[in-house]
Symmetry: C2
């Protein structure tokens, strides 16, 4: 069936989440398909940042640690993120970067696994996950084992302390079955650390129903927490006795007693480390609060509908230009993005940018488009594909300026 403008209009008219678009500051004309790299600015965040700077900081100064509850921001925001992910209150903290939280989760898991020295992951995992694992292994005299994605379950054995996996793959969008993988790992006594960077605010996650051990994730993608936003860490309550290797003062049982010896806090607080990054936390909280207003199941449904529209239109409108869809075809197995391989992926992404369509190039030849149902309409998707078609028709991408690689894309 050919999709017509009429169909698109009907889908937008029937969209129960359409009103969320007004909550975001998005420039007229821009088709932003990169919210899985950096989410858009919630309008309410402007006022919040202004308050954080000109009231909490300037006027409250040091008294805002209590007065504006800065001191509890890691657990307060953590609890809210936990609500999105099927965690209980007191199982999630916000703070630091995803990379640092990966290190925290891996070392905590290792501390629980006396005698096991292998860290397992898959090749092609998001680089920083594996880099952090490699650094830990070098230092901690552990062994890194990286196997092909399909070989992960078979590689679980009694030597493996911890398995580190990303739930939604950053290139292919493939969703791992969290409950199933966790169960298989537990059969062999292996603990699992899940990276939820492309899951949180994107797909339905139920950490406790999946019997998850540890998880980390990113605040600046689907949670719309702002550039370089604080990340988060989940530790199941049964693991709260694990050793926090990055044992900074905010993880102490009584940080403001200024004791000489580290005594870990009870509960998730022990995985805090340095002073919380208050300004970043303020922006993150607004993004999370907004996400909590949306029904996660409706969000997922819309994400699937937008993605399917994208794929169908690519077939109909760009079918002759050699794009290869590299994500799982079954929507249930695909996260909230679509990606296509094309030999000219880099230049095309640049040409799209010149036409006010922003997506992500991922080496070597992938065009990745984030699907963020809170602020994308069906018309956005249709318009984005039309602009790509036009670029292909005219071979507009074949200009020197689009083929020159920048350091970051």
């Amino acid at each position: 069936m050919t999709i017509t403008p009429q169909h698109i209009a009907e889908m937008d008219a029937a969209d129960p989440l359409a009103h969320f678009r007004d909550e975001f500051a998005i420039r007229e004309g821009l088709i932003y398909l990169d919210g899985n790299s950096l989410g858009c600015l919630p309008k309410r965040t402007v006022a919040r940042m202004n308050r954080a700077v000109t009231q909490e900081w300037a006027e409250g100064l040091i008294t805002s640690w209590l007065g504006a509850d800065w001191v509890n921001s890691p657990t307060r925001i953590g609890d809210k993120i936990g609500e999105l992910l099927g965690a209980q209150a007191g199982e999630v903290i916000a703070g630091e970067s995803t990379s640092i939280n990966i290190f925290k989760a891996l070392t905590a898991a290792v501390s629980l696994q006396e005698g096991r020295r292998v860290l397992l992951t898959e090749t092609g995992n998001f680089p920083t996950d594996n880099y952090m694992m490699q650094g830990l292994a070098r230092f901690g005299d552990l062994e890194c084992r990286e196997v092909e994605p399909d070989a992960v379950l078979d590689a679980l054995d009694e030597d493996v302390a911890v398995l580190l996996l990303t739930q939604v793959h950053y290139k292919t969008a493939r969703i791992r079955d969290m409950a199933q993988v966790t169960a298989k790992a537990h059969e062999k006594g292996v603990l699992v650390v899940w990276d939820l960077s492309h899951s949180a605010g994107a797909i339905e996650v139920d950490l406790n129903a999946s019997n998850a051990d540890f998880a980390v994730g990113c605040g600046y993608k689907f949670l719309n927490g702002g550039p370089g936003a604080p990340a988060f860490l989940f530790a199941a309550r049964r693991h709260h006795h694990a050793d926090p290797v990055l044992s900074g003062w905010f993880g102490h049982a009584r940080p403001f007693d200024f004791d000489g010896q580290f005594e870990p806090a009870q509960g998730i607080d022990r995985f805090q480390c340095g002073t919380p990054p208050v300004l970043g936390m303020s922006a993150l909280e607004e993004g999370v609060d907004l996400m909590l207003e949306a029904d996660m199941s409706a969000l997922r449904q819309k994400s699937i509908a937008l993605s399917e529209l994208f794929v169908d239109l690519m077939e109909q409108r760009c079918g002759e230009y050699g794009f290869e869809f590299i994500c799982p075809k079954n929507s249930a197995e695909r996260g909230s993005q679509v990606a296509f391989a094309h030999p000219e992926a880099y230049a095309m992404m640049q040409a799209l940018k010149a036409r006010d369509v922003i997506g992500d190039f991922r080496a070597p030849d992938i065009m990745r488009f984030g699907i963020t149902p809170l602020y994308l309409s069906f018309a956005d998707i249709a318009q984005g594909v039309e602009r790509l078609r036009s670029i292909c028709q005219s071979r507009e991408w074949d200009r020197a300026e689009y083929r020159t690689r920048a350091a970051v894309t």
Copy 2:
């Protein structure tokens, strides 16, 4: 000699840094003596944050990594901080918390010290420094050795890999002689990690002239970078081959190639880890830029003059109330704060707060007052001491409401 209001007025009139006060948003009437805990808001930071949020984030979105140079913010701001500290360009990065940077510096130093397994520090060092060391030792099978402050130099031996010291003590303000300690340590083959949290922007520091190895420090104190601001890390160029244990993607030689194996960047970049916290970095940069406009030697001179005035007035006006000055009496050996022990320190600090004088209580019995010459006047000091005198005279501190301890002070 009795200090008169006339003297105070003359000192303020002769102050070459007086105009900096206008650069800060400080409420009328407030005497803020806690800038060594959280620096005041530079007025220019308001516009910068607004730009970072409503232009760089909202409009530039992902393109701001290049377009607004977010990607280079760790080294760009690091270079500026380095300028304050006698480091060369390319020896300092900004980012993460002080605690995390302590871990980075300690592990980098240990990686250079094959066969040495002892981490040395002094008792009574700022807690997070020692906590991080303790966590590292537990995990890395290293030995933590904590000795009394005066025993540090004698404890240097061939087993010690790294000595961790704070240059300006957070309670007593005692300044360690960086060049002398470093030389003594090097004689025994020991590397030194300096915590400059109470030094940066407070006293004159010359890292390279002192032959320093590694240093870390805080962005939210004298640098006025905002609550929970990113911290910084210095590594002398000769140590840039050290192993970055926290090897996140921003420390990779080519982060945006998304390689599977970690290959450390050349230079200081290898000590980066996660995605930079852009909003916090923006605020930090304004604070650092402002500090760079001041002459560091004039700043130090004024800091000493303000501190001496404080001590003299405490003697003159509060001499009969039992305060014990716990800092070095020689100004050259004292950082930019003064501290007094008093059995009622906690209640008095609360009573001062009710009178709009903000200082810091540090357990068990210390009243700590930060001296921040960029925005404090001599009149502020005189006024602060007067209010304390009045509280002592009236025994105003002896109210139940001031004696009840809060979790954070």
